[in-house]
Point group: C2
Amino acid sequence: MKAAIITAGSELTDGRVLDTNTAFLARRLDSLGVKVVLTLSVPDDRELIVAAINFALGEKPGLVVITGGLGPTEDDLTAPAVAAALDLKLELSGQAEEYVRAAVGASGELPPHQAKQAMMPPGSSVIRPAGTAPGFIVNAGGGRVVALPGVPWELRAMWEDAVSDPRVSRLLSAARPPARGRLSFYGVAEAEIGAAVGKIMGRNGAGLDVSICSRRGEVMLEVTADSKDEGRVQELVKTLKQNFSDFVFSEGEEIENVVAARLTGMGATLAVGESCTGGMLGEAITRVPGASAFFLGGVTAYSNDVKRNLLKVRQETLDNVGAVSEPVAQQLALGARSLTGSDYGAGITGVAGPGGGTAEKPVGLVFICVSSDAGDVVRRFDFPGGRGQVRQSAVTAALHMLHWKIIADP
Amino acid sequence: MKAAIITAGSELTDGRVLDTNTAFLARRLDSLGVKVVLTLSVPDDRELIVAAINFALGEKPGLVVITGGLGPTEDDLTAPAVAAALDLKLELSGQAEEYVRAAVGASGELPPHQAKQAMMPPGSSVIRPAGTAPGFIVNAGGGRVVALPGVPWELRAMWEDAVSDPRVSRLLSAARPPARGRLSFYGVAEAEIGAAVGKIMGRNGAGLDVSICSRRGEVMLEVTADSKDEGRVQELVKTLKQNFSDFVFSEGEEIENVVAARLTGMGATLAVGESCTGGMLGEAITRVPGASAFFLGGVTAYSNDVKRNLLKVRQETLDNVGAVSEPVAQQLALGARSLTGSDYGAGITGVAGPGGGTAEKPVGLVFICVSSDAGDVVRRFDFPGGRGQVRQSAVTAALHMLHWKIIADP
C-alpha cells in the first residue's frame, strides 16, 4: 500500500519553520507497512493545496495524509481545498461543532472563526481534537484523505485515533510490511559501503531495494524486499555486518540509544563536560527515555573561569595550549567524572565558529576525550560546515567514541 | 518569481532522516525574493523523481532546486531523472570528471561508481563539489533546474556557487522581494491574533497576505504584499505591535537571539541549571554565534546527587517537596548563579516523560525559575505532548521568562 503526505503552511515553504510532521508521519506509515511515495509542502494557498492533493491522488495511494490548515484563521484552507479536490461542498458537521464547543469551552453559538473549524467535507469521519481543531477522514476513490492539524503535539495526539478509525484501519489491515534490514555505520564512507553492496549482491540482487545515505559521518543502509525475500534480506545484512564489523554500530537505532542501552545494561554511569557544544551532548543523551538510569549530569564550561573553577581545568594548560586543545578535552572529561563520581566521562572543546577561528585553530577543530578507569582516549577532529554542523558532528563523534570505549574496556 | 524544491531520498520518505535541506533552501530563496510554491520529497525511485520534476515544472517556476541522489551508489538517480524529465540523454562532462578526480584524489581512470557522478545532462553548468559530488544547472523551458547534493553541509557550501552562476543570477536579478513584515508573539493564542488581524484589516485588507502559525506556545505572523504596499504592511505591523505589546517579542528573530542581544547589549552574564532538559537550554543559547560574550556555562543536574553536590539544592527540600518543585527550580537557578558568578540564572526541573509521572506530578509538569539580583521569578507549567515536546516547550518558556525579566529588571 502506498501513501502520500502533504503539509500545508506558508511557514514551511518560506523556511520559517522546519517541517517535522512529515518525518513523524513517514515513520508511522512505514512501520505500518505503508510505503510513502511522495511528500509535499505547499503554502496557505487554496489552489496550490488542491493541486498537491490532485497530484498525490494521481499516484493512487491508499492514504493521503494532510496536516495543517485546520486552524481558525483566514489562511487555514485545508478543508475547502480537500472538498474542492474531491468535488464536494463543505457542510457543518454537528459532531465537529460539538468537539470545537467542548474544546473552547463555549456554550452558545460559536464565533465565526471557530464555527469555520466545524465545516467538513460531507460524509467525513470527524477526529476528536487534541487542541481546538478537529480532523477528518473522507473517502477519495478507493483510498482515504486524512486531514489533521499541523501543530506537532496535536498531530501526534490525534494520529492514533485516525489510524484506528474503521475506515482507515480496514485499509491498513491489507498493508503487508516488507522484509527489511537496516544497518548504521560510523567511520566508513558511503561509497565504500555502496561498492561492497554491489559486489555482494552481484547478479543476485534482483528484488532487493538498497538505500544508502550519509549524515554527519554516519551512513545508514536499508534493504527492503517483498516479504517472501526475508531470507535474502537477512543474508545481505549478515554479510555486511561481518565485512564492516568495526564500523556497524546498530541495526537502525540512533547512537544515543545504543550508548544508553550499553550503559544501562552494565549499570555504569556517565557525566559530560562540554564547551563548544554548550549542552548539546547532554541534550542528545537525555533524549533517551529513562536516561536517569545512567546519566548523572554534566557541566557546560563555556567560559574559561567555569572550566577552571568547576571542572578543575588547569590555568597552566589554558596558558600553554589554549582552551581548544587535547589536554583541556581530557581535563573536561576527568573533571566531569570527579565532580559527579561517574564511571564514564566525555569532554568536548572546539571552535564552532563562525568567529574565533585562527590559522592554527580553524573553525571546525574539535578535541574530544572519553574517560573511564581503564584510561582516557582523546581524538582531534576537523569537521566541515558551519556552527550547527560542527556542533552536531562533535556530539555524534563523542557518542561513537563512548560506544567504542565501552566495548573496548575490560 | 516562483520556485519549487525537490528532495530525493528514501531516507526522507520513510522518516529515517529529518529533511533540513528544504527549510534551508526555502529561507535562502525567500530572502532572494523568490516564492517557494511547492516542495516535494520522493524516494530513490527514478519514475517518482521524474514525476516530481514534471509536476514542479507544471507550476512554471523560475527555479526547480533538487537535492540528493548525486552520490556514487546505485540508488543515486537524480541526474538520469532530470535528463528523462527534460527529454535529454546524459553525457560525460569533462569538467565534472575533473572535479570528481580532484575530490577523490584519483589520477587515472575513475572507478565506475565515481565516473557515474560525472554524467550530466548535456549543456549543464557544473557546480564544483564540496564533497565528492558535483552539482549541475540545466535549462528547463524559461527556467532552470539546479541539482545539488543532499548532504547538508555540501549543499550549504555549494549553494552560493549555484546562485552566482550567471544562468541563475540573471534569472534572480528579475526577482523583486515583496514588502514584508513579521511579528513573533508568546503567551497569546493564534486565534486571538487572527481575530485582531481580521478586525484591523477590515475591508482594507486587499492585497495583504497574512500567514499565522503557532509552534510550542509561540505564534508567528507574516504579512506580505506587493512592494508598492510597503506602507500598508508597516502600518498593520505597527498596529499589531501596539495592540499586543505585552506579547510581541521580535520581528521574526528567534527568542534565543533576542535574549542574546539583550544580554550582550547590557554586558550582563547568564548561567543555567538544568534537570529534565538535560542541557537543551544551554544548547539553544549557544546556538547563537558569539554566545561566549554573555553565557558562562551551566550545570546539568540530572541526578539528585549532582543537584545537591554541585548546585547546593538542599536535601531537606528534596525530601519535603521532591526534585520537581518550585523551590528546586529556584535553587537550580541560584546555584548556577553562585557557582559561576553570573548576573542572570535560569533553573528548570520537570517530568519530561514518558515514565516518572504520578497523579500529583504528571508528565508535562515543569517548574522554571529565572533569577537576578532584582529577585527570582518561578512559574509552574503543564505542557502537553511527549518527551521531546515537553523539553522543547520548557526551553522556550525559560527563554521567554528570561526575556521578560531582563526587560522588567531595574
